[in-house]
Symmetry: C2
Subunit: 312 residues, 2 copies
Amino acid sequence: MHSDPGGAPDRSRFGDLLAARVAERRSQVVLGIDPDPSLLWPEALAGSTEGSAGERAAAAVERHCALLIEAAGPACVACKPQLACFERLGEPGWRALAATVSKARAAGLLVLADGKRGDVPVTARAYAQALLGATPSPFGEVPGLGVDAVTANPLMGADALEPLVAAARATGAGVFVLVRTSNAGAADVLDLALADGRPLWEHLGDLVRSLGAPAGSGLADVGAVMGATEPGHLARARELMPRAVFLLPGVGAQGGRVEDLAPAFEPGRAGGLVTASRSIAEAGAKQGGAPMPDAARAEAERLREASWSLAG
Amino acid sequence: MHSDPGGAPDRSRFGDLLAARVAERRSQVVLGIDPDPSLLWPEALAGSTEGSAGERAAAAVERHCALLIEAAGPACVACKPQLACFERLGEPGWRALAATVSKARAAGLLVLADGKRGDVPVTARAYAQALLGATPSPFGEVPGLGVDAVTANPLMGADALEPLVAAARATGAGVFVLVRTSNAGAADVLDLALADGRPLWEHLGDLVRSLGAPAGSGLADVGAVMGATEPGHLARARELMPRAVFLLPGVGAQGGRVEDLAPAFEPGRAGGLVTASRSIAEAGAKQGGAPMPDAARAEAERLREASWSLAG
């Protein structure tokens, strides 16, 4: 994504890229793209008349995502496609994912691939090739999705994260590591008390801090997923990870409130990214009657304004 | 996979299915399928003359996997495609994955999809649809990969695993949860001491035991990934999870030895599945000169014999 001909590669550009985009778009909102073929906008369903169920569903998903990006994208700085939602449609689903990434880039959005991958080093390198880099082959390089950031699972330790971090750093991208997630079950493992008295998620916060390299903006290229459903953790998380960007899922449908997220923004407006998916895409269904794109646009703008004024 | 017309569905068939297949094939070996386009067998490279680099690489990967299954499959009870290795080839990679699953089934192998997924419940359901079930859509059901088992990551807690377990149980499939993995970095998090003095992985073992339902064979449908590189853990793991099938990666290339795995087989021969990938596929390259399929067949048979005699 960034090339630096003639100079040493800048190994920590993601923080700067993000800070610039947040300032330019005046938004810290990340549009979650989690298409469910049973909940697509009516506007997306017309025209899928040929092919298998998977091909027709994937074509409708692709149209839905395009409409969602057109409607809500202007109020957002990035989008976050959920890989599971595309993978469940098989081969045509992967095609719809690639088309959605292109559409988002054309709309000026950064793209965060949400797959929460984590595996042994040789496999982590394969995921890095799939999402951030390219795969060498006897037939030439096979380009990956080419996203700006990925989510990653730290359970298997530092050597499972390092190939993703290295690939991200080489292209100016970022990695968001799960630290304290937004689901109820997060308490089962992430909140376990360690022998030193701290919960496990704080240990993962240390890992995030140690893996990240800060950019000129002061923001590191390794961030943390911190669920917005437990805002009480944010102040402590900010102490542990002063330069990490926090990806904050769980606002809206899962119960989190933008007003509780202030500690995320201490390093600057780009220090916190407010992620919402269903609360934007399904805003029209909840209001009953409003056209889906208009309702999504309004909800994304409401979130943008709420977080922008909070962090000002 | 299993239907039970006229009766209550049997909710715990995976253990029985696996025990029967192990007895029938006289093998506990799982063929790891981790195709690297730069390390394909020479026999697989001929014929890819059209299309993009990704299409040509995926076609060669598909041929490589078919040859590997033909050569090493007869000594194995199952195969374990590594999803990352297919995803890095994009849309044609997903097609090669589906073709490889079909090929493995036709060869009589069970299929374990190795993706180590873990996410919030709504997303875990999407992964379950992708791998184990089907996705409802306005255009009809979109079938998933339809595999016999998946690997899963427990970091996000029980509610991230339950949708995978439920979908597996509904089709007679199994779930293998990461408990103590085979990479060096596993010590960073999985070995952390908890406040009660136990390492984190033992807590995950409790989670595996509580999620699993045993079949008539005595084996549960929720198993554990236990790296063969730390065999000292196996006896303790067996105490914690007396009915879980252990998926044992790390034999061969990562340094694990079949001879150290006896505690895995305490509940019976199907209690441990010995997984090897590179040590089988690259056996010919190491021997320098032997045809790749012959060397792979011999190495798989050597592993089969070593584990079968150990568990007898």
